[in-house]
């Protein structure tokens, strides 16, 4: 583990220790300037000499920003303040976002001898984290771990969440946490007076201030677990269907303990997607994999298969989208998210852009195949349908259209799209079954490759092509001891960027050694 160098100034000689040094690190637009203004005002109210500086960018709202405050000891004249914080010389560090806390630690502004670190645990994702096709989100746990080592005192909470629930912004809840920490020698009232004197959004700010204050006292390092809402597992529906469901549940109950939860989740997904009979098909497919488990103590293969078969069978088609968009639970969810009071009215607009492929996919398989093979027909269908459509899904007509499309569900299993999906699933599972006996680990990796197929239209096509290429790579390494490891690497490369550049590189490596080994 690398260790960064820290300032070497010896504490006992340092005359500037009498000056309190506060750093605020934030993302542009979070109100770092407001927060530092309040702290400066509080220090002045306390009769102290104080200086605030910043390198805040002028206008843009997304870059990392830093504010710095120095506060003179009580009764002191104006000292010579520094305009910038120095590594190893910070008493209080306030980070308005988790990765900014990480940046502060990285820059040496948090040291175990003296720094009180007050950080919000919420994330404002950087662009680099968002654009990764897979999961590119930086791991907050590593920052928390480093924070525990680096800080003298640690106060962590979702300050953003606290502020938003109080109808205010994060600067207020962070000020509350600062007040509660007692890291600066000011009374709570002094901070509150600073907020009042600023005369802007006073009530909401005070509410968020109190929330931050209480959170910092009640749960300083934010480790108390928040209760998780449990999803309902019992479906609603007509009795006959409930009976069918119960039969499926009974089947799952017969599986080994560790895989029951994930299989139930998968079962719910496919039943919701189509119906109970389709759920039975899911279990049939799953059991062909489960049968391969043999004496494996840790049934990874079935666990992954339960997940990915469900995702594959509940593919994203027009019917499914229309169904999800017309459910009561969706309207309820949006209502809670968007509407503040019952007196408001809400309108919903959907952005749909069906192409010929989607329309033809809905056709009965034989007709669809016939059309798909004829460019002229496809062109005609495209001409008829391919354009952006704004659908008012709260209105009778828009809702009705989507409702009707969702109603095509009963024809779904006869559609061209379904035929294509079934063929794909079967050949993929066949491959898994072939491999499992010889190389269990490789079979697991092949199952996991299904993660590559996601998205709609072009994105979906790219995902399919990546899936095919990784499986081609699997063929190349088949038989090697490290085959599973290579497939994992290929898959991870495929998830790194959209164009597949990382995958190209990884494939080249695979080619290089598989070709030489043939010689």
């Amino acid at each position: 583990m690398n260790v960064q160098s820290l300032g070497i100034a010896p504490a006992d000689a340092d005359t500037s220790r009498a000056i309190l040094k506060v750093v605020i690190m934030a993302v542009g637009g979070q109100g770092g300037g407001v927060l530092s203004g309040w702290i400066e005002a509080a220090a002045r109210l306390d009769g102290r000499a104080v200086q605030m500086t910043s390198v805040a960018g002028v206008a843009q709202r997304t870059g990392a920003t830093i504010y710095y405050i120095e506060i003179a000891p009580e009764g002191s004249d104006i000292p010579v303040f520094s305009l910038a914080p120095a590594a190893g010389d910070v008493d209080v560090l306030i980070a308005a976002e988790m990765m900014e806390a990480g940046r502060a630690i990285q820059r040496g502004f948090v040291t175990p001898d003296r720094t009180t670190l007050i950080a919000s645990t919420h994330r404002a994702l950087a662009v680099s984290e968002k654009v990764v096709p897979g999961d590119g989100v930086a791991q907050s746990d590593a920052v928390r771990g480093a924070a525990e080592i680096a800080s003298a005192r640690l106060i962590m909470a979702d300050m953003e969440g606290l502020a938003v629930s109080a109808g205010s912004v994060i600067s207020a809840s962070l000020l509350g946490a600062l007040a509660a920490s007692g890291a600066l020698p000011f009374a709570r009232e002094t901070y509150e007076t600073a907020i009042r004197n600023a005369q802007k959004g006073v009530d909401a700010s005070l509410a968020a201030f109190a929330a931050g204050f209480d959170a910092a006292l009640a749960d300083p390092d934010g480790t108390l677990a928040s209760p998780k809402p449990s999803a309902s597992t019992q479906p609603q529906g007509p009795d006959a269907l409930i009976d069918k469901w119960q039969a499926l549940v009974a089947r799952v109950a017969g599986y080994p303990g560790p895989i029951q939860d994930i299989t139930m989740a998968g079962l719910r997904k496919v039943v919701e997607f189509q119906d109970a009979d389709y759920g039975a098909t899911y279990l049939d497919r799953f059991e062909t994999i489960l049968a391969l488990e043999g004496a494996h103590a840790d049934p990874v293969l079935s666990q992954e298969a339960a997940k990915h078969i469900a995702n594959a069978m509940a593919y994203d088609d027009v019917i499914g989208v229309a169904d999800k968009k017309t459910r009561q639970s969706r309207f309820d969810r949006i209502d809670t998210e968007m509407r503040q009071t019952n007196t408001q009215v809400m309108q919903l607009t959907e952005y749909m852009h069906p192409r010929a492929e989607e329309i033809v996919g809905l056709m009965p398989a034989r007709l669809g195949h016939w059309a798909g093979a004829r460019p002229k027909v496809m062109g005609g269908v495209d001409w008829l349908f391919n354009r952006g459509r704004r659908i008012r899904s709260d209105g009778i007509i828009g809702f009705g259209m989507l409702y009707a499309v969702a109603g095509l569900r009963r024809f779904r299993l006869g559609s061209l799209r379904h035929a294509i999906e079934v063929e794909h699933i079967e050949s993929w599972l066949e491959r898994v079954r072939e491999t499992a006996d010889r190389d269990y680990a490789l079979a697991v990796e092949i199952v996991k490759c299904r993660r590559l197929i996601k998205g709609y239209s072009d994105t979906h096509a790219r995902g399919l092509s990546k899936f095919d290429r990784v499986l081609a790579g699997a063929d190349l390494v088949n038989g090697r001891d490290d085959a599973a490891d290579w497939v994992r690497r290929l898959r991870e490369a495929a998830l790194q960027d959209e164009a597949g550049t990382a995958l190209d590189g990884a494939m080249e490596t695979v080619h290089s050694f598989t070709e030489t080994s043939d010689l």
């Binding site: 300032g7 100034a9 010896p10 000292p79 010579v80």
Partner: protein
């Protein structure tokens, strides 16, 4: 309307003697200008002195009362030229812009000004954009001061020192007939503090009076033979006069004892950092009393050799604290010592890094290093022999993502670059150049469009070599700020005259947005003291462009894409200019949000749009992210064991600009996005209709749910 309003703060500018002024550096500078009796002020915005322009604009009434003319100049060149008023007339004037790029633009005017010399004090307030927080190439303005002979003031970064140096700067300028630049670094512009105010002074001669009684003196014109005489004057008259003034008025300061083993020679702006390092070493107390001799140069050009040599006489070695490169002061003083036959050790860039900011850590390390070499006994014990174990803190470098600035939530430029990216997907990669301003963020992920920037208003000009046509056409982007700054002539004029077969996209967001939302000629706002609403399209056609397309809604990604496509494929081989206009969202929100909130409070009908993502429709492929980068469009990890990848999610900061929906449609991404229009204070009929619709939906939903199994909790 600028990003930040100083209307409350500027009232302090009326303070008189005996009152204490408390506030930011830029406000203190403005107050100092008024106390110095300036007759005119001007400038061009840019970090870190953008807010100084905002202060001046907000203080226009106060300036008017004192008879001070304020020009919001069209460029730094115009600002520099404004100082011409002080050549023939005994009028004090000040302009402000950022350094060194503003000095680059202004250099023609400044060099002429410096040759002519000035009668009234002429000052450039220079915001030196160097080090952390800077957005430009890392250079020093010091070299400009030297080559044109403009005095460079670098006051200690506290309000009383800065204010004093503004006043002294005008005196110095007049005493030596030379313009001065007062340099303030990024943090000093925003530093807060207090100083004792004096009364404001009316200019002794106002610009109006001067206009009524014009004066001229051909000897001040930069033409032979006078230009040769000016050069001689600079050396024989102005430089000695300046040195005498600096010495006689104690502009440079001495601190600490007269003698010592090490003497520190410090740029004024570095003083606080040096003192902090000395405090940390126990060699200074918190008020700055120090055991080390310090020579603080509040004037870094010209150097005053005899004053310096006098300081050097008292010490056995020197450390020169001079940030950036080249090390002009160190070179100058080394030469002076050599000429004087002195051989004492001179430290500077041997212990300090040649390049980069002098941060707290750099300062502490370098001063410690120098003391170890020259006076180790001054260092506290633990530094000489460190034995404390340093804490082991994990390295977070691989984890913490970089966070460069980018387009704001709802930015009207985002859909333009999304469209550009889609066009490149169809037509392949193109040669694309950017400009200065928000539009340059397109060079960063997720767009990664444009690989160069050559200066403000020079986007299209930097494609000049590629404008002869070929298989593909070169594309350039230019903001409205850059267009009016320099772009109309240097870029568009250049395209017209050279029959350029290239495409220029002018992004008109109604403001000089990147610098904080100041108005420009084409701003839509009514501005009482400036002329706005001047059409970019008229200007472009007026200069001779025949192919002009105007889009008044940049969020229409489909139309934007079609227009770009047309420009790249049309047989027309002359210059093609697209003007894409939509208001800067930051400024729009600042303008509209209070009005909207008031309307909602008053019970009027208000429709507030916001976007959302159906998380069960989103597959977590993040294709939308790669065409957006919007801060409000983020990811969220679902509590669903079946999902490996986080899905898209839009938070409460969404302003409903429409980009998400437009891009999803134009790029045929996915049907996950929806727009929710929340209607506040709906009419009775509207509410009745909504209830009926909800009724029909519920009836249909219940009808279907009776025939199937559903897990209502499963979608949450």
């Amino acid at each position: 309307m600028a990003e930040r309003s100083f209307t409350k703060e500027v009232q302090q500018l009326r303070m008189g003697a005996g009152e204490t002024f408390t506030g930011e550096g830029i406000l203190a500078i403005t107050k100092a200008l008024l106390e110095s009796g300036v007759g005119y002020v001007g400038g061009y915005q840019g970090a870190p002195i953008s807010h100084l322009m905002d202060v001046l604009a907000d203080a226009e009434d106060i300036l008017g009362e004192l008879g001070v003319r304020f020009e919001a100049n069209a460029s730094e060149a115009a600002a520099g030229a404004t100082l011409a008023a002080s050549v023939h007339y005994p009028i004090r004037g000040a302009v402000t812009f950022k350094g060194p790029v503003g000095v680059n633009v202004a250099s023609d005017a400044l060099a002429n000004l410096a040759s002519s010399g000035v009668t009234g004090g002429a000052m450039v307030i220079l915001g030196e954009d160097y080090g952390e927080g800077s957005s430009i190439m890392q250079e020093r303005s010091h070299g400009f001061a030297m080559k044109s002979q403009i005095w460079l003031l670098d006051p200690r970064p506290n309000l009383p020192s800065i204010v004093d140096m503004v006043k002294q700067g005008f005196e110095l300028s007049e005493a030596s007939n030379t313009p001065v630049m007062l340099m303030v670094r990024i943090r000093a512009c925003h530093v807060t503090g207090a100083f004792e105010a004096s009364d404001n002074q009316r200019p002794t001669l106002s610009v109006a009076d001067a206009l009524a009684n014009p004066q001229r003196n051909f000897e001040r014109v930069v033409l032979p033979p006078y230009s040769y005489i000016h050069e001689q004057e600079k050396i024989t008259k102005r430089l000695p006069a300046a040195r005498a003034y600096i010495r006689d008025h104690g502009l440079n300061e001495r601190f600490g004892p007269e003698t010592g083993k090490v003497g520190l020679v410090i740029q004024g702006g570095m003083y606080n950092g040096v003192i902090r390092a000395l405090q940390r070493l126990g060699l200074a107390d918190i008020s700055g009393q120090t055991a080390i001799p310090l020579y603080v140069m509040n004037v870094t050009y010209p150097v005053v050799p005899d004053e310096f040599l006098d300081f050097a006489n008292g010490v056995s070695s020197l450390l020169i604290v001079e940030e950036g490169q080249p090390e002009f002061i160190e070179q100058a003083f080394s030469a002076e010592l050599f000429r004087a036959g002195r051989t004492l050790p001179v430290h500077g860039k041997d212990v300090f890094p040649m390049a980069g900011e002098y941060t707290g850590a750099v300062m502490l390390d370098a001063i410690t290093e120098c003391l170890k070499l020259e006076a180790p006994e001054l260092l506290p014990g633990p530094v000489r022999a460190p034995n404390a174990e340093l804490p082991q803190i994990p390295d977070l470098t691989p984890i913490v993502p970089v966070r460069p600035p980018g387009f704001c939530t709802g930015c009207p430029e985002r859909p333009i670059f999304a469209a550009m990216k889609l066009v490149e997907e169809d037509l392949g990669q193109h040669q694309i150049s950017g400009d200065i301003g928000c539009n340059l963020f397109s060079a960063l992920p997720p767009f990664e469009i444009g690989g160069q920037t050559m200066g403000y208003g020079l986007g299209p000009a930097s494609n000049a070599a590629f404008s002869g046509g070929g298989e593909k056409r070169a594309i350039s982007f230019l903001g409205d700020g850059g267009f009016w700054h320099n772009g109309l002539t240097s870029s568009i004029g250049n395209m017209v005259y050279n029959k350029s077969d290239a495409v220029a996209v002018i992004i008109d967001n109604y403001y000089s947005a990147a610098t904080g939302g100041q108005d420009v000629l084409s701003s839509r706002a009514d501005n009482a003291s400036r002329s706005t609403n001047n059409s970019i399209a008229d200007a472009v056609r007026g200069i001779g462009v025949k192919w002009v397309r105007e889009l008044d809604d940049t969020y229409d990604v489909g139309k934007m894409r079609a227009t770009l496509n047309e420009a790249l494929t049309t047989p027309y081989d002359g210059p093609k200019v697209i003007i894409a206009s939509s208001e800067c969202m930051l400024n729009k929100q600042r303008r509209e949000r209070p009005l909207r909130n008031a309307a909602i409070r008053d019970g009027r009908r208000v429709d507030v749009p916001r976007f959302g993502v159906d998380e069960d429709v989103c597959t977590g492929d993040h294709a939308c992210m790669r065409l957006s980068g919007c801060p409000s469009l983020s990811l969220k990890t679902l509590d669903d064991p079946l999902r490996d990848d986080p899905v898209a999610s839009i938070d409460h900061t969404c302003v409903g600009c429409g980009n998400c929906g437009e891009v999803a449609d134009a790029a045929i991404l996915c049907p996950s996005f929806y727009r929710a229009d929340v209607v506040h204070n709906p009419s009775g009929l509207e509410r009745w209709m909504a209830d009926r619709r909800a009724g029909v939906r519920s009836w249909l939903q219940a009808r279907r749910d009776r025939k199937r199994l559903s897990f209502s909790g499963a979608t949450e």
